[in-house]
Structures are given as C-alpha cells and as structure tokens.
Symmetry: C2
Subunit: 351 residues, 2 copies
C-alpha cells in the first residue's frame, strides 16, 4: 500500500522537525509494509517574501488529491502573523473542512512536569472547533489612526458548526474508557455566543446519556487544568478556547515541543492535516535543538487516521521508551542535552 502525502515544512523549526518526521514514517513503513509518496511544497513566509503569496493561487486544489497533509509550522519575523496564518494554515483548515482540531495531552513516564503529577495521571484530549467562531475576518476599523479609532471583531457561531464539533466530542468520548466530555464556556461574559454554545452542548449531551457531561467557564477551567488535570477525559472548546487549552495542556505536562495535533475532516471528503502544536520558534530556529517529538507524534496520529493503528502504536511506544530513558538524549526544552537529530535517531532506533 502506498500513501501520497503533501509535505509542508513551512518556516523556522518546521524545516528541522519535518525531515525527522518523514524519516520515522519511512522507517515504520518499511517495518509494517507500506510506502509513501511525499510531495514537498515550499509554502512559507520565505515564499511570501519572494512572491507576495504564502501559497500559489491554486494551492488548496493541489492539496486535495493527497491522502493526508504533513505540516511543520509557519510564521517568521517580518511577516505579520495575521498575514502568514491567514494566507496558509487557516485557509487549509477551512477550505478542506478540517473542522476538528484534535490534540492529546499526556504525561509520559520519565517526564518531570511543572505540575506535581505522576505519569499516566494526565491523559486527555482537547477537541477544538477548527473552522469558525472567534477566528474571523469579519470586522474592521473606524476612524483608523485617530484618537477616536474603533476596532470591531466578530465571532460567528453556526448551529451546524457548533453541533458537528460537539457531536464529534461526544462520539469520541463514547469510545474511550472514561466517557466524559467537559465543555469550555464563558456564557457569563460573552453575551450571545457562549449561551448559544451552552444550549447546543446541553442538547447534544441529552443525545448521549452514556457520556458524562459538564461545563466550566474558560477562566476557572484553565485553573483546573493546572490544579486537577487528572480529571479530564475529553475537553471540547471553540476555536479560541480550544486553542488556549491545547497549549495550556501540554504546558502542564512539561513542554509544548512534544504536542501533536490533527486537523481532521471526519467525513474524509478532504485530506486531513497533521502538525505539531508548537510554532516556527524563530528564537531557536537554525540551532538544531528543536524537539522533534511533536512532529513525530503528529506522524503517528496521521498513521492512525490512515488506518495504520498498529504502526501508530509502535511509534508511540518508541517515543515513550526514549522519553523514559537517558535524559541526556532529550532536547533542551525537556531538560536534556540532545539535538533534534539525536533525539529523532533514538526514536528511529527504538522502532
């Protein structure tokens, strides 16, 4: 079996961790008997500086006929974030209808977390709405550049968009051991959007009586991520709240560097995209010390999505063994002295 994968390393450390992810994929394929056809795309801020575009005009169309997209990170000093992201990452998520952003939070054996918790105690999923909500280009400025300047930013929540992410969360939780969905809300401050979100959450919870449901305002929920991360199983949030919680979660387990994500089109009409949660990290780019685990774990999520659950599990087991082993092999963000390359080598060898 062969999978065709669109590869977009992007900027900064994206260019350092993606090749390691590909190496792991090649290796695992050779073990489990499948192959890849990788098609590389140089879409990035680099390209933007030369061409004025983050990707070609027919970019999205060129991604369509792949089995999945393997993405690094975009963003670079000099190109404002709201340009680089809205010119590449966000249109891909939207136009390929990857409306689920799925992000695991797990504390591995051997990792010293900033919070006092034991390995295994922290193991949950953030299900983030990935297509609408607070991330919107509706809005603008009045009296720009004057003392009277007013800026408006609109959030847009549809019933279709809200229901499908909530349903995904309940379905997903229903397949886990701990059948429990926690909703992130802020209906006491956000007057229209979040009361609506709560209504739909209540309606959906009624359809899944086997799944326990509760909800917290995002402020106290963030605090609970730190005070009692053990209690969560699936946490569902809007585009913005899911974004915050899915960085906070990995922060609680020690490093953003290991966190992966799937931008998923559950109907499989379009390819899904797998990328680490960390960004392009200009501060450490070029030093060869970026943590490759976020990218490699993303590769495992991609294999899972492609129906190769055993291969995915083999990668996870390799990551776990390496992380629990010689601390020196790990990258500096995990307290080690390793490099991107040496840590990836260790994982490849452990396969």
């Amino acid at each position: 079996q062969q999978f065709t994968i669109a590869v977009i390393p992007g900027d900064g450390i994206g260019n350092e961790v993606v090749p390691e992810g590909l190496r792991v994929l090649e290796r695992i394929g050779s073990i489990f008997g499948f192959t890849f056809r990788f098609q590389h795309f140089d879409w990035s801020c680099e390209l933007y500086k030369n061409s004025g575009r983050m990707m070609p005009e027919d970019g999205i169309a060129r991604l369509r006929d792949h089995d999945a997209i393997f993405f690094g990170a975009v963003g670079f000093p000099g190109v404002p974030d709201h340009i680089s992201l809205w010119g590449l990452l966000i249109p891909i998520r939207r136009e390929l209808d990857q409306y689920v952003n799925l992000r695991p939070v797990r504390l591995f054996p051997g990792v010293v977390a900033p919070v006092r918790a034991e390995a295994g105690e922290i193991d949950f999923w953030v299900v983030r709405e990935n297509s609408e909500g607070e991330y919107s280009q509706i809005g603008g400025r009045l009296f720009a550049g004057t003392a009277d300047e007013v800026v408006v930013q609109e959030s847009v929540f549809t019933r279709r968009g809200t229901d499908r992410i909530l349903r995904y969360a309940f379905e997903f939780a229903g397949r886990l051991e701990r059948k429990h969905v926690t909703s992130a809300t802020k209906s006491n401050g956000l007057f229209y959007s979040m009361p609506f979100w709560d209504e739909r959450f209540a309606a959906m919870a009624a359809e899944y009586p086997d799944v326990q449901a509760d909800q917290y305002h995002i402020d106290i929920l963030a605090a609970r991520f730190v005070m009692s991360p053990q209690r969560f199983s699936v946490v569902v949030g809007s585009n913005l709240f899911g974004d915050i919680l899915s960085d906070l979660g990995p922060g609680v387990t020690g490093t953003i560097g290991i966190a992966p994500s799937g931008n998923i089109n559950p109907e499989r009409v379009y390819p899904s995209m797998f990328e680490p949660v960390h960004g392009s990290a200009p501060d450490i780019a070029g030093k060869g010390i970026a943590n490759p685990i976020g990218q490699i774990w993303s590769a495992a999520m991609m294999l899972e999505h492609l129906g190769q659950a055993e291969a995915a599990a083999a990668i996870m087991s390799a990551i776990e063994r390496v992380v629990a082993g010689d601390r020196n092999l790990l990258t500096p963000d995990m307290g080690g002295k390793g490099t991107t390359r040496s840590l990836a080598d260790a994982i490849v060898n452990a396969l």
Copy 2:
C-alpha cells in the same frame, strides 16, 4: 477618619466571606485609628427572583457617593449567568468606569502549589481591561431555533480604551522593582482586534523606554504561566484574556480562594470596587468552608486604594503568617480542615 463603604455580598459564598472581610476591616480600623460606615445592599440573584431585577433601577447612582464598594460574588443556579452578571457586576464596572481590573498572583510561604515553585518566586500582577473588548452585548441570532441558526458576537476595542489600560500597566510596572510588561495577544487568529492591540502596545512601549516590554499569544502565554511563572512582573490583557490569566495565575499558586481583585477607576471620579476572584460557588455555599482570604485580601487592596497602605500591609502580613502556620487552620481548598470562620479568626488574631 471615616470611610463610607457600599457592601454587596451577593449570592452563595459571597454571604459567608463578606462578613469576615468586614470583621477584619473593623479590627484594622480600630488599630490604625479610622472607622467605616458600611451600607449594605442585598443586590443578588435572590433579589432577582423576587423582583425581576438584580439591583434597583437607580442602583448605580446609589453607589456613587461611597468611598469604595466591597463586593462578594454573584450567580446562582436557576438564574442564567449572562443575566445575573449583566444585571449587576458588569454594569457597575462599566458605569463607574472601573476600567482597570487589577489582580495579584503571589505564592505565599507555606502554600504547596500545584506547580513546582518556591514561595516568593511567583509574584506578579495581571492588569485586565475591564470595560470593553470581548464582553459586549452587540450581536445576536439569525434563524433562531432552526438548523440554519447563526450567532454573532462582536468584540469592540477603542483606542481610548486600549491606550488607557496599556498606559496603566506601564505606569504600574514603572513603580515596581521588575519593570517589565508582558502583553497577551492573539493577533495570528483574531484578525482585527489583536493586531490593533499589538500596535497600541508597541506605541505605548515606546513611551516607556525604562520598562521592558514583550508579548505572547494567549495560548503559549497560558502555557508559560505554568512552565515559568517566575518570569512575569505585570501582564496586561484584554477583558477576556485578562479574565482567563487572572484565574489561571491563582490556579498556578494553588487556589482561586485566596485571589483578590480591584476594579479600579484610577481617576477616582467614581468609587472603585474590590472583590475576590472566586465566584459564588453554589457547590460549597452554606457549608461554612469557603476560603475567606480572597475577600480579606480584597479588603487590603481596598485600604491601599483608600490611602491606608500601612493598614493594608498589616493585613497582608497577618494573612502570610496564618498561611505559613498551622495547616489545619486553612480551609479545605488549601488542604486544611478549617472553616471560613476559624480561618478568619486566625487572621483577625494575627493582626
């Protein structure tokens, strides 16, 4: 000297912790030679259920001629949050132009925080915009109740509102030892509001060359609150981001129960309001185990605002000594066996 204070206990544990705060205030006044005239207001969800209003129509006007407002918490099951809050707390903040929400985050000696940190290492302030931004009643629903339902929620940022909170943050940081302001942004996702916020932050930073300035997206900033809370001095954020960060901060130090806040009108045209960060906590209301420290620390912040810095410091010192002392005296949220009353007694005795 006499201070006239409007007292609004509100709902739930507000009714349990406010009296303890008043007891501490009486006691400290008798030590330092000033008195209080407390005027009590029963504005609450209770009142709403009987009268259909959270406060009387002339409520705000009746608060105006006080030196300060001492607030507990509002919210109660059965009254939707977006009604209880928008009928009392939020109008007070806005109509009395309390545009600064000031919230300290501090790890006290003796407290075992969920994060691995030593007392003294965590000591910073969240300066939250308290009057505009994401908390807005502009928006609504289209096709309500149908499958085509669309909900719009507008955030509104003005230059006046943005500049005044940023200026407050820089002025405030300029008076601290660590002259450092960190801005919470999300300009890569929120297309209009946060790029504007960033522009104004950069403009303000240029006016305060003695104050170090940096900024992080809210997602990674939340993670950094957990991974390296030691590095912050003043963190400034919008209404929503400041709300999240000022619960997350106390979460990192162990309990929301001790966190205070000031809703401040810096020009002193209107009275400022002091309230704990925790809410009405219906789950523990009536049990007498709510932590009174958030309310008592709010009393200290109020005294500071009223020019009684020495008295405020005496309260803080009493809190610190009690917290570092017999663990059993503390309330259950801090791992102790104490009650609201016994913990407050200990603090009063320590004065």
